[in-house]
Amino acid sequence: MSTATEPVRILPQSPANSGSDSGEGQLLEVSMGPQHPSTHGVFRMDVVLDGERVVRLKPVFGYLHRNHEKIAEHETYLGSMPYTDRLDYICSLTNNWAYALAVEKLAGIQVPERAEYIRIITAEMTRFLNHAALIGFLTQDMGASGTPLMYAFRERETILDLFESLTGARMMCNYMRFGGCRVDLPAGWLDQAKKFAATLPRFLEEFERLLATNEILMARTQGVGVLSKEFAVNAGVTGPVLRASGVNYDVRKVDKYGIYDRFAFKVPLGEHGDTYDRYMIRLLEMRESLKILNQALRDIPEGPIVDPKTKIRGFKPKPGEAYGRIEAPKGELGFYLISDGTANPYRYRVRSSCMMNLTVLEDLCIGHNVADVVVILGSIDIVMGEVDR
């Protein structure tokens, strides 16, 4: 994070056009953010413009940095769980799962079947609401002032009500535990969830009709911010942004963590790697999430929800290290833990998908108009809680 500069500064004239007195060809340095309405949080971009065209762009972040990793080194393993909710605060349940998975790898804990199903149900609901909200934000960035966002939030709120009746909180769920989940599904929850899942295809149809063939959306997104396959892989981009570039890599399919190998679902792939593909991938992934959700709601067995051998108090894994990762809605979310045999982790690291996806922001934006920067940033899908940690 750099100290804030003047919002607008005229740089020395570029050598190509030096001598013109109309101001043409002069490079202009603009500081977008940290409170810009389209920056998805306190995030700043140092943009150098040649007229409307972006010449250089440096993302500047850290305004929300609270050194989550250092805090976690002073907490017990369980004590870090509520802090993971606050990483990507739109999808707290997948954050919980990634951390629980890393600790389970570190300590060799088995998860009962019912808990695995509950995890998948909640994670796919989270993916659904994240993608719906993202499309809303993205269209908001394009100037569709709120209508798609409100439609998305209507469904999101229903999911959050389900989360609240299960976990006790809408967003800061703190629900997963090492070796399972905290509480069992309350009576009637499954029926409620099934009923809700039955309404989702209608919502998806509506959502797609609303936007997918909209000429303005296509004009604003097609061919904008093209990310090539090779570059995406090399830059460590993950999640829907990577798959929009046509790379078939989904941690759910590759690692088969949890019990994802039991479900029939496809991994949608893009062809052009542009912003429109990134938008469409989200729509298609919502459909696939719905498929998984329906299968999981149908097949969930009875049984215990937490491994009886894991201790709540005095949990001390043996010395060693583990890296656990899941396919979070925004990409690969990983936790790297080193244990030295005490109750606190020696090292606790969050591999944040949002931050890694930001690596390519400059490369995507160069050569485009400044208005496209907003759209490209929106399609990358960042949450500053996770970028800054």
Binding site: L78, S80, S165, L210, T213
Partner: protein, 214 residues
């Protein structure tokens, strides 16, 4: 045809707009505070201390074992242990908290204190109208503010409270049977104090914190 997609989208918007006049489901606004949504049972906000019976000081289940203070992630619980003992929820002689403060401006409602408490003494409340004009002492809740009756607990989390009561009743019965058995087996010797065979974490082993001026 150019513009078809836009028209389709506008038709969808119009359908939703008109639908909001006829469909109850789409009218989601609730006139708070006159109207309220039904409370979700699992909802949690800030912790409170459960007491049994009518006297909040006598019936407090907390034995000041310091587990929640240690496990609390943002360290918002402050406990000072008493010097004397009183019978706890299951009838054993235990210490009780002289001071039990929760700084709710720090608390993040994570429920970990509830999970780690072996005595079912701390539970999550559902009250959310908590604004205070005093930013510091108004948000530092003491023992008196935190103590709420078991009936209150039953009112806000009926399923959970019933399970907790059943478990406590079973523990009480077990201890009563044990004391009876010891009394019958050794009628000559006086019965040992009930907390000598303490199950769970032994509160007496905890270090006594130094008294500090608050």
């Amino acid at each position: 045809m150019f513009g078809e997609g836009i028209l389709k989208g506008l038709a969808e918007t119009a359908r939703n707009f008109l639908g909001s006049y006829v469909s109850k489901k789409r009218l989601t606004t609730v006139q708070y505070p006159e109207q309220r949504l039904p409370q979700i049972e699992a909802y949690r906000n800030f912790p409170f201390l459960v007491y049994d019976g009518d006297d909040w000081q006598q019936g407090l289940r907390c034995v000041s074992c310091f587990i929640c203070e240690k496990e609390c992630p943002p360290k918002c619980i402050i406990i000072e242990k008493s010097t004397d003992k009183k019978p706890d929820a299951v009838g054993k002689l235990q210490f009780y908290p002289k001071v039990f403060n929760i700084d709710v401006s720090v608390c993040m409602s994570c429920q970990i204190c509830v999970e780690v408490c072996p005595f079912d003494a701390i539970k999550m409340d559902t009250d959310f109208e908590l604004s205070s004009t005093d930013r510091f002492s108004g948000l530092l809740w003491d023992k008196k503010h935190l103590a709420k009756s078991n009936e209150h607990y039953h009112k806000i989390h009926p399923t959970e409270a019933a399970a907790v009561d059943a478990q406590l009743a079973a523990e009480r019965a077990k201890i009563a049977a044990k004391t009876k058995a010891t009394a019958e087996a050794k009628p000559a010797t006086p019965t040992p104090p009930a907390n000598a065979n303490g199950a769970g974490p032994n509160a007496a082993n905890q270090p006594v914190p130094t008294a500090t001026e608050k």
